[in-house]
Subunit: 242 residues, 2 copies
């Protein structure tokens, strides 16, 4: 029962968390330090140069750029990365409605060297939301399904609070207590949490299903500023060919 | 030779990186998961409630609040934390000129449970700058001495580019390649680097000493907005008794 962000010995696993300030998005870079095969999760158009420079400096072969869902608040750099890195494949849930080289379904593995992530369907924020869990269940990349002490909104893009509640309780809160939670966004300066912590302290998801639905249906949030350009762009890997 | 942010197995070490948006400051929380003894590095006044709530939720006994130096860009929460947490001690370099319960000198250890950090004098940004290195040299909290692909400015508060260059080259770049670099600030969305990476790719500190001094003396930066209130406040743990 350790809460340590660096707890598990992942011999030969490179891990980097990167932040994009405008949309408060976390991008994650993971690689096998031996084979140098790498994957990137939720890369953002604004920071493509930073991310590609780091990948280059570390000598990595980026194999897959995976999006946890079709984002409404920023444009993915996946499409542009594919143009700049030969052989790079894009991946997203088959329920996202977005085009990609790989359409993920429940249980699919994204492999890089001797490591892999398992894609778990966690709809609710959108129908195509996935949580990516490391092979040893020490890390979960939860997208907008579960945020640190929060969760993604459910008032557009097929959002459904009941689905989100069930996804978190059935698919994420059943992971080990010490499993690190790495979300797609954070607005309060948190960088990581654990499943055990969120199960205990998440102010929304510790409520009953009814209370949760009620909270989510009364948030009265503004429409994301970029939704009308982001969603159509992200349906085609961020490359809007107009 | 692993670049992994989670590389080392620190059984029973809790580690959390926290961010304060206004001053782009990183605060670090470390604890022994068995004894629950904890330390915090560079806590910021604006985020004291968030930090104390987390400490409380995790059931930690905060023993020491240490500042890597007397900050010019934000006010430390150390003094206010001492008022809220009985038994908490403040720590800072004896060369900082700041009052504190513990005045650190080269080689001093800050212990929490079975873990400790060693204080290493790395002057240059200020005379009282320290780098805190974990017992196994897997993590270095470099304050403003070494930032990710950058370094602290040297044009006020006893700043001296020659001293900073020597501190980095003699005290930080001599740590193991895979030692993780956790700075006090970041402005570009980096959360961690390694000694090996900075030794190879830091655009300033890979230069010759002469070139480095020349770069630093010609940055022409604005004075930090908060320097006239931050420095006097931080000389007394952030509690300005006026
Ligand atoms: Fe989203
Ligand atoms: Fe500073």
């Amino acid at each position: 029962r350790s809460y340590c962000s660096r707890m598990a010995l992942h011999k030969g696993l490179l891990f980097r968390q990167l932040f994009e300030t405008e949309s408060s998005t976390y991008t994650y870079l993971l690689a096998d330090t031996e084979t140098k095969d790498a994957i990137i999760i939720d890369p953002v158009l604004e920071t493509i140069d930073r991310d590609l420079k780091l990948i280059h400096q570390l000598g990595l072969n980026l194999k897959v750029a995976v999006n946890t869902h079709c984002h409404a608040d920023h444009i993915t750099s996946t499409g542009l990365m594919k143009k700049r890195l030969v052989g790079l494949k894009s991946a997203i849930s088959k329920f996202s409605g977005a085009s990609a080289d790989i359409h993920l379904a429940e249980g699919d593995k994204i492999t890089f060297g001797k490591h892999y992530l398992t894609a778990i369907e966690t709809p609710g924020h959108t129908d195509g939301c996935m949580t990516l869990v490391s092979g040893d269940q020490s890390m979960a990349f939860t997208g907008d399904t579960l945020l640190i002490r929060g969760c993604g909104r459910t008032d557009f893009q097929q959002g459904c609070p009941k689905k989100l509640y069930n996804s978190v309780h059935q698919k994420i809160f059943t992971l080990p207590d010490q499993c690190l939670v790495y979300p797609a966004h954070d607005y309060l300066g948190w960088t990581a949490s654990t499943v055990g912590e969120e199960r205990k302290f998440n102010p929304r998801l510790t409520k009953s299903p009814e209370e949760f639905v009620n909270i989510m249906n009364n948030l009265n949030l503004k429409k994301p500023a970029k939704i009308d350009i982001s969603v159509p762009a992200n349906l085609v890997c961020g490359i809007h060919e107009v």
